[in-house]
Symmetry: C2
Subunit: 471 residues, 2 copies
């Protein structure tokens, strides 16, 4: 409105100049169209859209290097973008800038079947990868539910249902190639399974949410598709009974591949949305991987435990199509919840605690929810001590919004008091920044030092993890 | 030697002043005695002794904080010290300074059996920990052979025989408390099994070799002691046949707990030193963990593979005392080699490559050794693609020393060309600094930036990983 300041005019000139330079580089793979910008300024979360000034669609590492150089020369922010399935506003262009959409970098570069690893470009999606691998007898287990890009999953340290057995992206990324804010290209490590050659740059970039550089290649560990897979659903008389069964299963060392909790509200929402017939009760979903004999043994040990907690009625899904239906329903939990209250939006939050505190943490959280009157189903990757509360809110009702915020604050404080974390897998984005000082203390200053050291002008996804006041 | 320069005189005054301040703090837990300084200036490696100016024996985190403040105020280097079992000169006081011996910080603070984790002080030793845990039914699997301290193991990212099944310190440290060079105390994370709350400081300090801070507390993952454990030794007609068996076992997904190679030279040396009767041939040592039925199944699958490679004669060690003898012998490999050439010293080096290249890498290395005439047995954690060459040298024969250096250079170059690493587990210390640029390229500059950012005056174990030219 009006002429603006000299500084604003300078900003605008720099931006125009950048977009011209990007167009020279990329032709029509640069856009400032409002719908595309909007689509790149939001993820699947509750958080408000913050569109970037432009979106670019590079097709090679060399183009990404050139893009970062052009942006850096003009001090314009860069936001790496996968497919927008994050949940804490990770891709929002809080300070404007250029969204670097990696979807065209979607080649599976090399399957090293003998080494059980694979090199992929960042825009490769999870389902695409497993489809491609099928004939090799190998698979990539990390499964956050959404059909996310591998680059995005590495950037957010994604995990999900299989993490209890196979680990998260932390354990399953062997190496990354990253373009830094000044255009330097580095590779964080070799393909060796282990190394003691200097600092662990791989783990440093995994979970850095695009704030340290643009991931342009990922090497992942793969696993043999198990000889036998069995999945089952089992209802329990209470959330407590379900959670305590899970705790005992983990403590017994049964190598369960998945153990997922949904509460009664979630079961109802899923039955309606996904046309399933889950028991309307707190339910555990299980999956067992192994040899035929090994799976039978795991099942017998598990059932001996669940029976003690009133979990008697296992419904088995042994055919691949039945298993797929079961897990698709589990993954659709968030969509089912939003559909259950038309016109509302979902605010999924997550915490993770030591498993000995999990039943208590969920019980206290449930008491909060009941007392608030909010609609907020609970689902959990309970084998890891990780669970989600999915607040489904009328965005125009300030009371509901405020109450969800209050419960989220209490949930995080509860998890931290139990020596847990404010987020097990969704990450910080700009939704959980305020909790990091409580969680990390002076460690947060080390993270800030590190960010300044790698990205001195704060050009990489600014405003995430640390808030707006960097450097 | 003469009056020295003014700068030297100033250095001496600062050092004297520091030792006075440390004595005020610690009483007789500061020493400048030559034998103690010498013992803290060397590890188990070939590398020359570099004694610190003094050694301190703190008994609390608070004392370590105060020590770092006193050293930092006078810009005197600090070298964290566990028990000195490192292999690349990690504890050498290359620029003088104060060795911080953590051996009196040896309390097991808290066993959280329900969460399968444990908090320990850094001076706790591996065997002490497992002894303490025995009654809980839990154990800590990482086993580098030496009875190292947990602090030292975290600092060097140790691994060893069990890593193929249970991972290295990278996967098994849940959280660290660290005193930084300026005396700040940070905790890298909560006890939650996973977290997406900011940068992974835990993995950054694991493997940082004392160059970023002093580790003062470690939280470790624990595992249930398996219901059944079986170990066996099996000879093969050639190193190639043994390695190819191992590759196929890993690729088949058999969850073998240990699979170790020793070559014929090593078998001979062990039989003499440890009074064992291993077959004088390339040998694989196996250990299987699981339920009774699970172990039988793993053994059957493994034997089907080894038979195809001429590995027929399994000698079983199923009683705990027999297994202990077997693994003690394996761990004594280095001592056995040194004993085989009286008056000589051992120079154990290690590399790690993708497993598909392992047979080739070992074969080419063996050809080098044969051609050189050096005595250099090979042992390997072959399930990870990791192996060691143990050069045993007459330190007074410059031809032998030079030839070992040349072979080491060729070994590292070979491993890097195969997309491997210059060290799988021994670390960099000051012995492998020259290889890091080839391995990491510009990534090494990121590591240097990170070091400068955390330790701007280069006071923490200076000269390691990066060489003398920092900051």
């Amino acid at each position: 409105m009006g002429a603006g300041t000299d500084a604003e005019a300078g900003d605008n000139r720099r931006l125009e100049d950048l977009i011209t330079a990007l167009s020279n580089l990329l032709g029509d793979r640069v856009t400032t169209s409002a719908p595309v910008r909007d689509a790149h300024g939001r993820d699947e979360s509750w958080h408000k859209t913050h569109p970037p000034d432009a979106v670019v669609f590079p097709e090679s590492t060399e183009e990404i290097i050139e893009i970062t150089r052009l942006c850096a020369a003009r001090k314009i922010p860069m936001i790496p973008f996968g497919v927008g399935t994050s949940l804490e506003g990770h891709v929002a262009a809080l300070q404007g800038g250029i969204s670097i959409d990696t979807s065209r970098l979607n080649k599976i570069i090399q399957v090293n079947a003998e080494d059980m690893d694979v090199r992929v470009e960042p825009g490769v999606r999870r389902k695409q990868l497993n489809e491609h691998l099928r004939d090799t007898g190998l698979f990539f287990p990390v499964d956050p539910g959404a059909d996310a890009t591998i680059g995005g999953m590495a950037a957010t340290r994604a995990s999900g249902t299989n993490a209890v057995r196979y680990g998260t992206m932390r354990e399953n990324v062997l190496s990354l190639s990253v373009v830094l804010s000044d255009g330097r290209l580095i590779r964080t490590s070799s393909r060796a399974r282990k190394s003691a050659a200097g600092y662990d740059l791989t783990r440093l970039f995994v979970g850095s949410e695009g704030t340290l550089g643009v991931i342009v290649e990922i090497t992942l560990r793969l696993y043999g598709i198990p000889e036998a897979i069995s999945a089952a659903v089992c209802p329990f008389p209470s959330v407590d009974a379900a959670v305590n069964s899970c705790i005992q299963i983990i403590q017994s060392g049964i190598p369960v591949a998945r153990v997922e909790l949904i509460d009664q509200l979630q079961a109802e929402a899923l039955n309606k949305y996904s046309n399933t017939d889950f028991p309307v009760a707190p339910v555990l979903f299980f999956e067992f991987h192994g040899t035929e004999a090994g799976v039978l043994e795991q099942v017998a040990l598990t059932q001996a435990i669940t029976e003690d907690h009133g979990g008697l009625d296992f419904q088995w899904a042994n055919r691949p199509e039945d298993r797929n239906k079961l897990w698709q329903a589990r993954h659709d939990a968030h969509y089912a919840n939003v559909a259950a209250r038309p016109g509302c939006r979902g605010w999924p939050t997550d915490v993770c605690v030591p498993i000995s505190r999990l039943a208590e943490c969920i019980a206290e959280t449930n008491a909060d929810i009941a007392q608030s009157g909010l609609f907020a189903p609970i689902v959990g990757h309970v084998g890891d001590g990780n669970f989600h509360v999915d607040f489904v809110l009328d965005p125009d009702d300030p009371r509901e919004v405020k109450e969800a915020g209050r419960l989220n604050d209490r949930l995080v404080a509860r998890a931290l008091a139990m020596d847990g974390t404010c987020t097990g897998e969704h990450g910080v984005g700009f939704g959980k920044i305020d909790y990091l000082r409580d969680e990390h203390g002076d460690g947060l200053d080390l993270m800030r030092d590190l960010k300044r050291s790698f990205d001195p002008h704060n050009l990489m996804n600014p405003g995430k993890i640390f808030g707006p006041d960097l450097p």
